[in-house]
Symmetry: none
DNA sequence: ATTTAAGCGAGACGGTACGTCTCGTCTTGAA
DNA sequence: TTCAAGACGAGACGTACCGTCTCGCTTAAAT
């Protein structure tokens, strides 16, 4: 079901209406309102279902390796068709719709931040985290760069950015 | 005129309608459409008019000092009432409305990026830019962190983040 | 069960929904659809059950007396709380819902017409029916006046109308 | 404009929706809501516009003649295609929708009643009104019979009913 | 005593229409 | 000639019910 909405999204637009989702998926509008509080939440579920957003947290043996893997996986997901478009839409809705914003921040953004924080803590425990790289700084820089890329960039980021970030944050 | 819209915005909402702006400012809707292609552009103008977004590019003598000044000024602007709300709304609209997105990226985001790039170039010319801090990396990190703060943060950033960033990017 | 719906009606409105009836009576919607083809039919049954609509056809010895008794009984029923409201609703539904209209006309209106016709025939047999008072004319006039009272009147009819009708139709 | 809705009505049903009226007439829904408080009021206007409901009140010289003319004109209007259907729908809505009911009773039913009352008064002044035919009784009987015919009859009334009524009410 | 089946309450489902809202365009009337 | 005021066509919003459709659960009869 969510898969169907995904399609709507890919073709889709901010001319995406609950009306349209219902028509496309062959359901009534009420059914959608029964399960999701807003169309942004449908999108969020669709994103989670369709694009498996799992970012690997396997121990590569070093902080540099872990960070490199994390960034590479993140950019790989972003290269899937439609994903960037959905991410933009979700972040936009989170600004516009207070309540969805809350859900999005807690259920999505914070969760990802925690994943990265776990990596940072592992590095700290391992002892190969350079000085001054607090979990807070690292998450802000990493997710800041990623989201800025998604929301504000005119050109694709490419591999060099990953490399530069790894050098910056892991020496 | 733009000043009046500002007020609308501060009181305002994403329940901000062209209808409402016109009523509040005592003009007809048509008059607004004559001057701005969308209500987001009104907001953008209002932001430029009301909140002087000038970021000082005066030479403080060192890259660390320049960066520190730049960041401090940026966060100071963000602490003005309503500004963060407007920035969020503009970025959201830029995702939703393709054409405004183009104008916003070129006329606003890129312009600020160029300001910071000028600082980086000055540092490079001066010779006190640490290795690996390309203009591209620095702008992405700085604006990434700022925008992430604006769009995604649950708590205020505070001064420490500035300090950490300066240390990170300027040794 | 029908008694419960009656209550719904008395409190009720044309904001009367099958959903509401089911909730109020503590049953499922399906159960109602199992027994009645539409909510109007529920109302019709409720009317028959709750308000005993029996109109006395006992021989009073004269056509004038019979007619007087018939009219008095009819108006008495109409003065029961809720009955007029239900009658209005039923007649309205009969106009809107073709199939219920059929059932209502045959099973309710016609039945009552036949009762009055029997009275007219008794009068004719007795020989005290004034000239020109055919069964058809009498039923149309009597039920016409009653229903016009129910559907269109702004003020209550009162006793004088009965008297005038008796004089008109029975000399 | 109202003429267009008339068409909707003639094809129409209680499957008549504001949505449908708007689509058919090439307007937006809001425009309809701007001008009429409910779709029943649209119908009422359409009836007044399309079917000229003027009932002649010319003096025929006698009460019997006046009444005969009034009844004949009324039945003639009722024989126009669609008119009976609309009348039924309006009366039904008047029962269901309190506020429209008020408007319908005062602006339509009462107005017609007054027209007939004028005839009765003329007859009284002329002196050829039989005893016992008060204005109230006559209007109730005449409109009662007409509306009963419209709302409850299974077969058409025909001319004999007019004749019988004239005899009954004008000797 | 166990099975079978009917009827039940509950309520999700695909739909339709509601009346409200805002959009961006078009039309007036006064200054 | 300009512009405020606001009507207009369009169409999405979220709500309310419609009538149909499973679901388990409870009886009650038939085995």
């Amino acid at each position: 079901m969510t898969a169907a909405y995904e399609l709507v999204v890919e073709l889709g637009y901010p001319g995406l209406s609950v009306e349209g989702i219902a028509a496309r998926s062959g359901t009534g509008k009420q059914t959608i309102y029964r399960w999701w509080p807003s169309k942004a939440d449908v999108l969020l579920d669709a994103l989670a279902t369709k694009a498996d957003l799992h970012i690997p947290l396997d121990d590569t043996g070093s902080w540099a390796g872990d960070l490199q893997a994390f960034l590479a996986a993140s950019f790989r997901v972003g290269r899937m068709p439609g994903v960037v478009h959905i991410l933009r839409t979700l972040m936009a809705q989170a600004q516009i719709d207070q309540e969805f914003g809350q859900r999005f921040r807690v259920g999505f953004l914070q969760r990802r931040r925690e994943a990265l924080e776990a990596l940072v803590e592992r590095a700290a425990a391992r002892g190969d985290l350079p000085a001054g790289r607090t979990a807070r700084l690292v998450t802000r820089v990493v997710f800041g760069v990623i989201w800025y890329e998604v929301l504000a960039a005119d050109a694709d980021a490419g591999e060099e950015l990953i490399e530069e970030l790894v050098v910056l944050l892991a020496r």
